[in-house]
């Protein structure tokens, strides 16, 4: 499966090289660091979306969650003047809770993920707009959360903290998904929930946990975005961001049918999306074509992947056929002298006469 990530990595490098050759500004340090920052911002919640997609579900509510949690976060800091560690904690808990509620509705009440999170999208967005009377919230002139702001939008040796945070979270989730028991269960549940249940796996908990993780990461992303834009206008903040996450995950090899995908793939997918956006600007392609370019690349990527998989499946099927041939020969040979493994057969006939 690592092949897929390799292909994506190569694609990323090739596109970057071509863009860099046409316009060297693409490879300037400033531009690269700017992209790194955006990759960090958009990568964090794409990781959560990826986990949800691996369960075979989808989370459409992320962007609206940013808006709701964002206005609450700013309000806690500015209006209520709560110390930032508590405000941060509140936002993280808020994200986990919303994820938990969605997970509960999906697993316990057996509602469809698309519906639950679509309603979540509408409700959170509406709540954010009502809460603020549709007015933009921003920080005053004070340094309500100076320390946190420095962390969220700062850098270490020039590398944006958002990017560093993405790498750390990706490493943690990478271990969780690819090395831990939970990760194995997640793939099993995504591929065949019933067989997972018949193997004693509490599939409801496994699935709900994915939504909770996604909600928690949405909380983290909210804080990052708030300090990136320094204000939240509830009707537009985070609009469509869940679609970026879904696109990144799908581009990174997650199948919407569930059970497929990797953390590395999701990170690479996010990076590719940001590179594409950046390339549109750098190459002077009309900005209005931004989405069209993104859509085309995803479409081609998924199409290529499908073709490759179909070829692989054909190969496997042929290998399988070739193997069943000798086994049917064995059955036929059973009344002969001494077939291999005949000692295991209770209904032997050769020596009865």
């Amino acid at each position: 499966m690592i092949k897929k990530e390799l292909g994506l990595g190569v694609l990323l490098v090739v596109i970057s090289a071509i863009t860099g050759a046409i316009n060297p500004a693409f490879l300037s340090l400033v531009n690269l660091l700017n992209m790194a920052n955006l990759i960090g911002l958009f990568g964090v919640f794409a990781l959560g979306e990826g986990l949800v997609i691996i369960t075979g579900g989808i989370d459409l509510s992320l962007g609206a969650m940013f808006a709701l949690l964002g206005v609450v976060f700013i309000d806690l800091l500015t209006t209520y003047e709560i110390p930032w560690p508590f405000a941060l904690l509140a936002v993280l808990l808020g994200g986990l809770t919303l994820g938990g509620i969605q997970g509960f509705l999906i697993t316990r009440l057996k509602m469809q993920p698309f519906i639950v999170t679509l309603c979540g999208l509408l409700i959170y967005r509406g709540a954010a707009r009502y809460y603020t009377s549709d007015s933009t919230r921003g920080f005053g002139y004070g340094d309500e959360a100076g320390a946190l702001s420095n962390i969220a939008s700062g850098n270490v040796a020039g590398i944006p903290n958002t990017f560093i945070l993405l790498i750390i979270l990706a490493l943690i989730l990478g271990v969780l998904l690819h090395r831990s028991v939970y990760g194995r269960w997640l793939y099993a549940v995504g591929k065949n929930e019933e067989a997972a249940r018949f193997s004693g796996i509490n599939t409801n908990v496994v699935i709900a946990t994915a939504y909770i993780i996604s909600g928690g990461l949405a909380g983290v992303s909210t804080v990052l975005f708030v300090f990136y834009t320094n204000s939240v206008s509830p009707s537009s903040f985070g609009n469509f961001y869940e679609l970026y996450a879904i696109a990144a995950a799908v581009l990174g090899g997650c199948s919407l049918r569930g059970g497929e995908g990797s953390i590395l793939g999701i990170v690479l997918g996010t990076a590719l999306l940001q590179v594409l956006q950046n390339l549109v600007n750098i190459l002077g392609i009309p900005n209005s074509l931004n989405f069209a370019v993104m859509g085309t690349v995803i479409l081609l990527g998924v199409l290529a992947d499908h073709q490759l998989q179909a070829r692989r499946r054909r190969k496997l099927a042929l290998a399988g056929l070739a193997r069943t041939a000798p086994s049917s020969m064995l059955v036929q040979g059973q009344h002969g002298a001494s077939p291999r493994g005949a000692d295991a057969l209770p209904a032997r006939t050769g020596d009865q006469a």
Partner: protein, 508 residues
């Protein structure tokens, strides 16, 4: 002799590495019922696919009405009057009966608009249903029909295209006894109307009842043909497997030990007004027979914690245990090898290794991180012990044969400590060799003290493998037979809810 409807001559079909059909010849006459038997993988389905135009033969000729074809297309086959009643029914549950009968060739009306004329289709289907003795209307949604009724829809569909040959592939595998009888009557009626039927079945009793002639396939070749007066179970089985079937039974090495699993007054959601009492001792194989839908699978699902228990309790060695979920059951050593291994037993796209360790992964993990080395060791051990034929433990299960897939399911449980194991149709769709291996394995487990419940609809298996047989009827256990009382007759009586006659009469 009646007119020959069609003839297959010297048909062969090769796939890379396999010769699925090898010089098969077959003739079907007007108004005859041709039984086609053979073990799984003998080539029956491939042959029928050739006949239906789904696949092209590599060699040979299909002769219909004096014309030779090197191959046929599906529409040519349909025009020649060849119709299928599929093993897995190919109906649209969301559409009504009439719409299903005319699917793909809807009757149109409404002038230039060419709208579907439902009334006309229903009117055409009504007499067909009457002729088949079906008691549902053409506007019934297929979703509301039983499997037997759906079969009637398929047959009605065949009649509606004026089929001259109807191919039925395992038509009775999910039918009750009375439904089976009904189907056999329909076949007799078709025959009387000059329609030929190719009847593919593993149920030799039905073949004996309805076939005029039986063709036996083995390993892609025709190995024999039996005329009506030559038909007998023994003759057919001899041809199918090329050897005499000896009794499958291997007696236990030691007598069952006291203790075991007691199911007391268990109520399942499938039959909320019935109670099940059943006991299986350590070291014995208890066969659980009954008609399809008698509540055997519901019992296993409830005991394994998949479905809720509505009442009663489960005791192991007289200690009541709580089973609210499969993980509770697994903790108690109660395992289930489910009926549908592809759907419930395996994650087909995952490798052998991950399937084997799926249920016990926490045992090979430290702080929730999987130890690759431990996991591989366990998987390799199971592959060796069960002689699973797979090129490597990292091979996806989907590429293995049915028998080897089933062994992977077993490996999943045997890597832990079983105390009570439920096997639900453990050898369905598995070749003869793998079957015997699975029987040997069940016996080995029993001899190690595991209490085994084997749900099976295969009479030969129930009688041949079990130490005792419990029979279920409509949601409760209608009787338990000891080995001396074993007979197909006794099992069937209990399965149909009748009492055993007397001990003397029951044990001839």
């Amino acid at each position: 002799m009646a007119e020959i409807l069609f003839e297959l001559a010297g048909i062969s079909k090769s796939y890379p590495g396999v010769r699925a059909l090898d010089d098969v010849s077959l003739r079907v006459r007007r108004g005859e019922v041709l039984g086609l038997i053979g073990e799984n993988g003998a080539g029956k389905s491939t042959l029928m696919r050739v006949l239906g135009g789904v696949i092209a033969p590599s060699e040979g000729v299909i002769r219909i009405g004096g014309n030779d074809h090197a191959r046929m297309t599906v529409s040519e086959a349909t025009q020649a009057g060849i119709a299928f009643v599929h093993q897995e029914l190919n109906l649209f549950e969301n559409l009504e009966v009439a719409a299903n009968v005319f699917i793909g060739r809807e009757m149109l009306g409404g002038g230039p608009l060419k709208l579907v004329d439902n009334a006309k289709m229903r009117a055409r289907v009504t007499p067909l249903l009457e002729r088949l003795g079906a008691d549902f209307a053409p506007e019934t949604l297929v979703d509301n029909l039983s499997i037997a009724e759906r079969q009637m829809v398929e047959i009605a569909k065949a009649l509606s295209i004026d089929a001259r040959v109807i191919i039925m592939d395992e038509p009775t595998s999910s039918l009750t006894i009375s439904e089976t009888e009904r189907l056999l009557e329909v076949i007799a009626d078709l025959k009387a109307h000059g329609i030929a039927v190719i009847y593919i079945s593993h149920r030799l009793g039905e073949i004996m009842t309805c076939a005029d002639r039986v063709v036996v396939l083995r390993d892609g070749r025709t190995v024999g043909e039996l005329a009506r007066d030559e038909l007998s179970h023994a003759a057919m089985i001899r041809l199918m497997i090329g050897r005499d079937l000896k009794s499958l039974y291997t007696p236990p090495q030691r007598s069952p030990q006291p203790g075991g699993c007691n199911i007391v007054g268990l109520v399942t959601s499938a039959f909320p007004d019935r109670q099940i009492d059943l006991s299986v001792r350590h070291g014995e194989i208890l066969g659980l027979a009954g008609l399809v839908g008698a509540g055997r699978t519901s019992l296993a699902r409830a005991a394994f914690g998949i479905d809720p228990l509505l009442g009663g309790e489960i005791r192991i060695d007289d200690a009541p245990i709580r089973v609210a979920s499969p993980s509770d059951a697994i903790r108690q050593g109660i395992y289930l090898v489910p009926e549908d291994r592809k759907k419930s037993g395996l994650v087909l796209e995952l490798p052998v290794r991950e399937n084997v360790t799926l249920a016990s992964l926490l045992n090979y993990a430290r702080m929730w991180l999987v130890s690759g080395a431990d996991e591989r060791k366990v998987a390799k051990e199971q592959v060796r012990r069960l002689s699973i034929k797979a090129p490597s433990i990292d091979m996806e299960v989907v590429t293995l044969s049915g028998g080897n897939q089933q062994k992977v399911v077993l490996g999943k449980w045997l890597s832990m400590q079983p105390r009570v194991m439920f096997f639900d149709e453990p050898t369905r769709g598995i070749d003869v060799g793998a079957k015997s291996e699975i029987y040997a394995l069940m016996r080995e487990l029993a001899d190690q003290g595991v209490a085994i419940v084997m749900i099976s609809s295969d009479m030969e298996e129930v009688i041949g493998v079990s130490d005792r047989v419990a029979v279920m009827h409509e949601g409760s256990v209608s009787g338990v037979l000891e080995r001396p009382q074993f007979s197909e007759y006794n099992v069937l009586r209990l399965a149909m809810g009748q009492a055993l006659e007397t001990v003397e009469a029951a044990a001839p």
